[in-house]
């Protein structure tokens, strides 16, 4: 079984829109792996169709059985991480070994403040 690890610099998980995310990936691969993919993406969870948008992607082709790498992504200005009544929007970084289903993942909060934006109370106004 392959072991994949992914960490943001300093273990940070809160990032302001437009800022840069630095992360370190390391891997110990069991079996044939053609490619490692690191994806920065956002997705929704809640009612209705789930949206998934990959914002940026890096790849390591034909990786050595063990290795590591540092990567940087510039975040776009939006969308912000938020939670409403119908959906939650989340950001994440994910490292995948392909082919296969093994992944490592770090959830991120992308917002101007270190608290997820909540729009639950809007209907009260």
């Amino acid at each position: 079984m392959s072991v994949l690890e992914l960490h943001t610099a300093g273990g940070d998980t809160w990032f302001t829109p437009g800022s840069t995310v630095s992360c370190d990936a390391s891997w110990h691969l069991a079996g044939e792996v053609d490619r490692l993919e690191l994806r920065l993406f956002w997705y929704t969870e809640g009612k209705g169709t789930q949206d998934v948008v990959v914002v940026a992607q890096r790849a390591v082709e034909r990786p050595e059985s063990s290795g590591h790498g540092s990567f940087r992504f510039r975040l776009p200005e939006g969308p912000y991480s938020f939670s409403g009544t119908l959906i939650t929007l989340k950001w994440a970084l994910e490292l995948s070994a392909l082919p296969g289903e093994e992944t490592a993942r770090v959830d991120l909060l992308v917002a101007p403040t270190p608290v997820e934006i909540s729009i639950q109370g809007l209907r009260e106004y």
């Binding site: 969870e45 809640g46 009612k47 209705g48 169709t49 789930q50 939670s83 409403g84 009544t85 119908l86 959906i87 939650t88 989340k90 209907r123």
Partner: protein, 201 residues
């Protein structure tokens, strides 16, 4: 009746990603029997049933159990159903491919025959349909309030007791469409004002 705790969308037990993760459970034949039936039908068969009866869940489960499966999804396509179908097919279709088409009722007669023609060199064609006729019926999907209760217990064990007394009425009101039942249960757990939560709380 118990009050259902309000929760965030990602934690809602009836969020769509949780519903999508439900595994199909055969209501009669076992998986081996279903696959043997498919073989007997030379891999040309239909999964038939109304909206929200589990056709897509079954089709996806069959595709997962089939080598070189090609899954074509026509529900929610923004282009014409035929264009959506053709663009999702591999080119060329090889003898090892089995094409699984979800929501094939969206194709008109001409589109359906074009799809059959495009898939003719493959191993088979399995489709979900609302009514029988285009292909031999493999399974007629049905639902029951007992199945709804079972799924609610699995999806929301903490809330199941509070939800249970109204599930029969919910099932009847939505004509057995489990997808609509889950959407309403989502609203209950989301505590949406003016919605069904007020009836349930």
């Amino acid at each position: 009746m118990s009050t259902i705790a309000r929760c965030r969308p990602s934690e809602n037990p009836f969020a769509s990603h949780r519903i999508d993760a439900i595994n199909y459970r055969p209501q009669g034949p076992t998986w081996n029997e279903l696959l043997a039936d498919l073989e007997r039908l030379q891999w040309r068969a239909a999964v038939v049933g109304p909206e929200g009866s589990g056709k897509t869940t079954l089709l996806e489960a069959l595709a997962l159990r089939t080598q070189s499966a090609v899954l074509v999804k026509l529900g929610g396509a923004t282009t014409s159903p035929l264009t959506a179908a053709i663009t999702q097919l591999p080119r060329p279709i090889k003898a090892r491919h089995t094409v699984f088409v979800d929501a094939a009722e969206r194709l008109g007669t001409l589109g359906w025959w074009r799809l059959r023609h495009a898939a003719r060199n493959g191993r088979g064609l399995v489709a979900t349909l609302h009514s029988p006729g285009r292909l031999p019926t493999l399974v007629q999907c049905t639902t029951s309030s007992a199945l709804l209760r079972q799924l609610v217990r699995e999806l929301a064990p903490a809330d199941a007791q509070g939800l249970e007394p109204t599930l029969d009425e919910l099932f009847r009101r939505h004509g057995g469409d489990l997808r609509l039942c889950f959407q309403e249960l989502y609203d209950v757990c989301a505590g949406r004002a003016g919605g069904p939560a007020q009836r349930w709380a």
